[in-house]
Amino acid sequence: MTEMLSGGEMLIRALHEEGVEYIFGYPGGAALHIYDAIFKQQAIEHILVRHEQAATHMADGYARSTGSPGVVLVTSGPGATNAITGIATAYMDSIPILVISGQVPLDVIGTDAFQETDMIGVSRPVVKHSYMVQNASEIPHIVKEALYVATSGRPGPVVIDVPKDTTDPNELCEYQIPDSIELRSYKPSERGHVGQIRKAVQALLESERPIIYAGGGVVQGDASAELTALVRRLGFPVTNTLMGLGAYPGSDSQFLGMLGMHGTFESNNAMHHSDLILAIGARFDDRVTNNPEKFCPDAKVIHIDIDPASISKVIPADIPIVGPCKTVLNQLLDAVDQELDSAERDDEPLREWWKRIESWRQQHGLDHDLLDKKPANGRLLPQQAIQAVYKATDGQAFVTSDVGQHQMFAAQYYKFDSPRQWVNSGGLGTMGFGLPSAMGVQFAHPHATVVCITGEGSFMMNMQELSTCTQYSLPIKIINLNNQALGMVKQWQDLQYGGRHSHSTYSDSLPDFVELVESFGHVGMRAENTQELTEAVDEAFSDKHQNNLVFIDAFVDPDEHIYPMFIRGGAVNDMVLQRPD
């Protein structure tokens, strides 16, 4: 027997059948029929946010930490445009989210109606795909197809624009949803080309100074176990991009740390001096390559990616392999096993290579024991704050961050051992991402420890969500590395603009964050030196506060810079290692 449902009811029904647990949203005129359908059911929980941008970041955090798509519901006009930053954030990092936007009724589209905006047009450059509903009856099909497109191949955000009249509660139609989706124009690659795999294995086994460079594609493609197995089987050094942290265990000795603009001395040097780069689910972003003309002059490149457009976009690949990281890595593992069984290999060059890497690590590697040291000026170092959090959480927490120096300190000093543990806006660099994405993570993992490492500049971009945290009792731990400035901007101004701090400070206009968070019913703490910080962190992560949102306002040394740092226009190993006098 077929059921007669309204468009709004069909939308919610289809989402539920596709496994959606939460909708992050904000109501408004064009979405009210849908909201009424939500009111009449219990299968999906709707989370009321305070700003649509935050809803998209919550869905994004949910998706990053689970691999399942996050779902957003907003109204037309400003509701839709407010969601754009979050959609662009998900697009740049290939995160599967579904954004459902209300739209004015079909018969007034194009008349500049109240709260009308061309959401399909506005979102077009930052979505993987989008749909405009024309008839209520097509809603279940569109929902299923949209989720399929969002999550398959190279994942990404998908928008469904829903004109109000297609969700009218008085217009019922038959609920019909297809069993599966088949698109003649969209067939993501399922496995790597066998001939290319053979060539890649040959190159891997012949190399003398190899490095494995793995990115967010390994995390999104659930290929961490396969990556780890391959790295260990080959005994090669491995580095992760900002998006790839956790793809390979961060505390393992074969891990060289993050590479790139603020990457470790050893990983950037190993990249530069390598004779073979195996790039997996990484896209040679400009924050990784520095000047592409000077990029790794002796290296042959094997590039594995699900998206052919990522291959040879910036750095030409010698051996391109299109396919899902997980499958291709399994193919490589099988082929490597066969080759290693049949051939005796001379390990001497690899041993020599490791010696060089170890010497780089000794020379200028990161100091992970800063907590035991007292800075001469008595101030708190931001690195110490990260190390204290790492210690207090046994390296097991989900960590989200905003964008700036604190993000890079977190990436450098929190050793992520598992994929999906580290959640940050890598591609778009969206300030304001940290708190709402942490909320999405906490909804997905209600009993897990979720930390948001932020700075006061980023935090103030979405701090209204403290109210949402109160409403849903989210026990997030927020570490605010407060340097009373837009630290990364200020650092660039120190290094490149003669120390002229143009609009990177806000004089004395910052709030008292402790009082601010307490006004929302949360717990606030303040730390001005290493000792206060460790005490605050230990208390925040103790059982006493397991049900509380705790905000630690950590007053860090405002003069601290983040290093290493690429020298602009240079090679990958051209780095500044400490603040010039």
Binding site: I120, R124, P125, S130, M132, R184, S185, P308, A309, S312
Partner: protein, 163 residues
Amino acid sequence: MRHLLAVLLENEAGALSRVVGLFAQRNFNIESLTVAPTEDETLSRLTLVTIGDDRTVEQITKHLNRLIEVVRVIDLTDNLHIERELMLVKIRAEGEVRDEVKRTCDIFRGQIVDVTANTYTVQLVGPTEKLLAFIDAISPKRIIEVVRSGVSGIGRGTRVFNV
């Protein structure tokens, strides 16, 4: 280098805007673009002329393929192909010049499709160079109005491009 790309696209609302938007977003160049449904009404076929080095054209092809509604893309310039463009030209044709315009039109195998006492409207089909040569031959000062369709292309011989 000049490339002629043929694209099969789902004939759906908004699909064309994604193709055009892609060129703007990625700073790719479009010289001309023609589009119409094929014999299969669910498909549109585009012919797109772009100028770029091999690497750029490879990126264009890959990014076109990435669009969900794009079914197939080929670079017609990789192989022997035929390309044609249609042009309608309104030409001032008075007095003794009137015969000369008619003669030039015949030489280029154009057809006069509309006539007034002092103008001819000429229809001309051919590769782009031929159309431009005709305008030169007529002399630009006699041209009143030009409308060109943009290039359409198809592979030569038994080579077939469909789904």
